[in-house]
């Protein structure tokens, strides 16, 4: 007979979060603790279905006794920990990180970034126009995906989703070093010649819109993308018997985008090409 490892019941750990005492299960991160008490921390490279990459530094918080600030998305809570998420040091760090990112990257399609900037008084333009990276042309080399690396903050989430954490296709990775580091297919080939299978799981996790669906990109280009008019309804895919959850983003009675709920035990936010793109037939009216 097998012995199934079900794990031991988790103890609760008590810590102090911005002066308040909080109890969370051991193994939780500081970010988890913040979420549990309804405190919102800006994050970009953090993915709820991915292992922390610790790349963007937007979620840094102050831990008493720690020489440096710590990334809240990966640092696990410890008993007696004293965490400050709104201290001057934290605010200053967040402001500078956002200014650096914002000066070198097009954050125009990054959700919430404007709120975060104004909350900490970040001004990305203060480094002057010279700080801007050269605009990279948007890559449209296939009918389903658009890659706009001018918006890429090198958070690695797409690489992790395509790689061994979910899709295991390994179509993209980081190429180059230092300032030249960028996300690329093998030998920078166009997507149709790469190992890409168009599951869209990289787009699902992209925090800035550097990766987007062609339909969304086209509608943004012609000014007809309007999230205020969109509804989101979760239903089930019909292309096999696995039962993947699809969230249909509908605008003017047309499906304009498909995502998948990250908390679904079937998909964990992942889909295949058919679930992600196989919906046009219902609206060939």
């Amino acid at each position: 007979m097998t012995i199934v490892e079900i794990g031991l019941p988790k103890r609760l750990v008590e810590l102090t979060l911005d002066g308040e005492s909080v109890r969370v299960p051991e193994g939780a991160t500081i970010l988890d603790a913040c979420t549990a008490v309804g405190k919102s921390i800006p994050t970009l490279c953090y993915g709820d279905t991915l292992k922390p990459a610790n790349a963007c530094r937007v979620c840094m918080v102050e831990v008493e006794g720690s020489r440096t600030l710590v990334p809240s998305c990966s640092r696990k809570v410890e008993p007696g920990m004293v965490v400050r998420t709104e201290s001057e040091r934290t605010r200053h760090s967040r402001k500078l990180v956002l200014e650096l990112l914002g000066s070198a990257t097009d954050l125009s399609t990054t959700p919430h970034v404007d709120e975060w900037m104004s909350a900490c008084g970040a001004d990305p333009s203060r480094f002057g126009p010279d700080a801007e990276t050269k605009l990279q042309p948007t890559t449209v080399d296939n009918p389903l995906y658009v890659r706009d690396y001018g918006k890429c903050i090198m958070c690695y989430k797409c690489v992790d989703a395509c790689g061994d954490q979910w899709q295991n296709s390994f179509a993209i990775s980081v190429a180059g070093r230092g300032f030249d580091a960028r996300i690329s297919t093998e030998f920078a080939t166009p997507l149709p010649e790469s190992a890409c299978v168009y599951c869209g799981n990289c787009i699902e996790v992209c925090p800035t819109g550097a990766l987007s669906f062609k339909r969304e990109h086209d509608k943004r280009q012609d000014g007809t993308w309007d999230e205020s008019k969109q509804s989101q309804t979760t239903t089930i895919c019909t292309f096999c018997g696995v039962g993947c959850n699809l969230t249909l983003h509908v605008q003017d009675n047309e499906i304009v985008k498909v995502t998948s709920p990250h908390e679904s035990t079937v998909t964990h936010g992942n889909l295949c090409i058919k679930g992600r793109f196989g919906w046009q037939h219902v609206q060939n009216r």
Partner: protein, 645 residues
Amino acid sequence: MSTVMSRRKKTEPYVRLTQPLVRDAGVLRPATWDEALDRAAEGFRRNVAQHGPDAFGMFSCARATNEMNYMAQKFTRAVIGTNNVDSCNRTCHAPSVAGLAKVFGSGGGTSSYQEIEDADLIILWGSNAREAHPIFFQHVLKAVNKGAKLYVVDPRLTSTGKWAHRWLRLNVGTDIPLAHAIAREIIASGLTNTSFVERATEGFEEFVKAVEPWTLPVAELETGVPAELIRELAHAYAKADRGQLSWTLGITEHHNGTDNVLSLINLSLLTGQVGRYGAGLNPLRGQNNVQGGGDMGAIPDRLPGFQDVTDPAVTAKFNAAWGSNIRAQKGWNLTQMLEAMERGDLTTVYIIGENPVQSEADCEHTVKRLSNLDHVVVQDIFLTKTAQLAHVVLPAAAAWCETDGTFTNSERRVQRVRKALTPPEGARDDIEIMSEIAVRLGAGWEHKTGEDVWDELRSLSPLHTGMSYRRLEELGGIQWPCPREDSLEPSFLHARLWENDPVKRGMPATFSPVPHSPPVDELTEEFPFRLTTGRRLDSYNTGVQSAGFESPLRKGETLDLCPQDAAVLGVVDGEEVKITSRRGQIQAPVRIDDGLTPGLVFMTFHFPDEIDVNVITIEATCPIAGTAEYKAAAIRIDKLPVKVG
């Protein structure tokens, strides 16, 4: 030999149906809803009056909701008065349902996706899950990346096989010899789970005798799998803490599909790899609701919740609830209905969302049979090839995004389907259309929402009683069985087999000493190549839906063969060739695939409007489940004469 030549042609994507159609003087013309519904009902009434209720057949839809399937079988049984209801599960996994139900009493996969991740050995048999069930395969890869061993049994080296620790390349149609040899090796090596076999099974002695001839060398000769690999798989499976055995259509789409399934179930009984967390048997279902269609009773021998239609106590319960008069006898399955059409015993059919003209093996034969009928009603979102043959065509709403209801997936999880789009003007909800026809036939059906229908089903099917819409919402779906609203059952089935108390243990699981039976379509000098069929990642079945989006991966239909065969035939990649079987002839371009071996060729069935592969497949069907042998046709390949000028 009837020879049909299909020519390649460019096709446009289908456009939604928004206007009912009726056939007058041989031609389909637009009609009002009232006229079309009257015509549909009148045709059913006429045929039933003339020939009795068994002249009627219902092709229910494995892609529509549970609620629709429940109503379709209720319509068939309570309004018409026959048990002739079935769906396209017949073309794929009916043998899985038949085999599992025979041994364990219920026809569902026994484990959950999470258990796949926690297994330490996974066998995928006749399954290209990487392409056909990509998100299931992500769960497999989670296990593989944690250290689980993956064995893939397949005649082709597929993208799934490339992830395997061991690939067992067997000859098409030799699954039973391979399974028997694995069993014999387990027994001979003393690795039988004796305590499980003694307590929970019966028929072991007879089984031992049946597998005795299949020694490793004999099996190697028949299956082509090296003895050492068979031995390794046998020992690994028997010794695994948690062994998972999953299969797809490579097992079921044979003339003896149910026997194939039973031969795999035997292995789980022998080793006790079933009824425990992490150990189990899982057919990977091909349609979103092919599990649910069967669960809802849209099959000829079971009422909702797998309740036996031949049990008078069961029919009495349903008759009391429906005010009906169901006969306690099995109806015809889809295959038998098609045969009955040919004999003239079945004269009218109500086809909901199915495309048998293109999905059945030997499709020209299917067209002839449907053309025999007095009255064909097709309810669909498109004017499919099947709808083009109908007398009445009723435009339906798309179940998965234009209606409210539920689907049931491969892990028996019932999940909510929600209306996200308003159907196009003129298309109507499946259940509403069916109710309109029922009312015209004198049934007192009132309008019911998806939830109303579901609650009625819950009151009649103990498997589903505890699954209210509210609970499904809260819990992100619930796996059956779920008899109570205040609790959940374990994520795996058949834990009872491990009980100490014989009463709780219940019916023992029976070993099946099934015989080997090679493919019906024999390889001869005239037809020397074995053709097998399957799916590709970006396409789906007859392509009616998947052709609606542009895929960078799509290369169209090809005849895939290995480089050695291409060299012998003198053909190159992309060259058009003539493909002939005992039933028909088609043309397709060649694609070279290193994953194939000499004598074995592969095609999909995704592009029937361009190249209709089912013109050449064989309609030899499994006598138990009625599934056709799509996986093994004998063909010849001829180089086309070089065009001059």
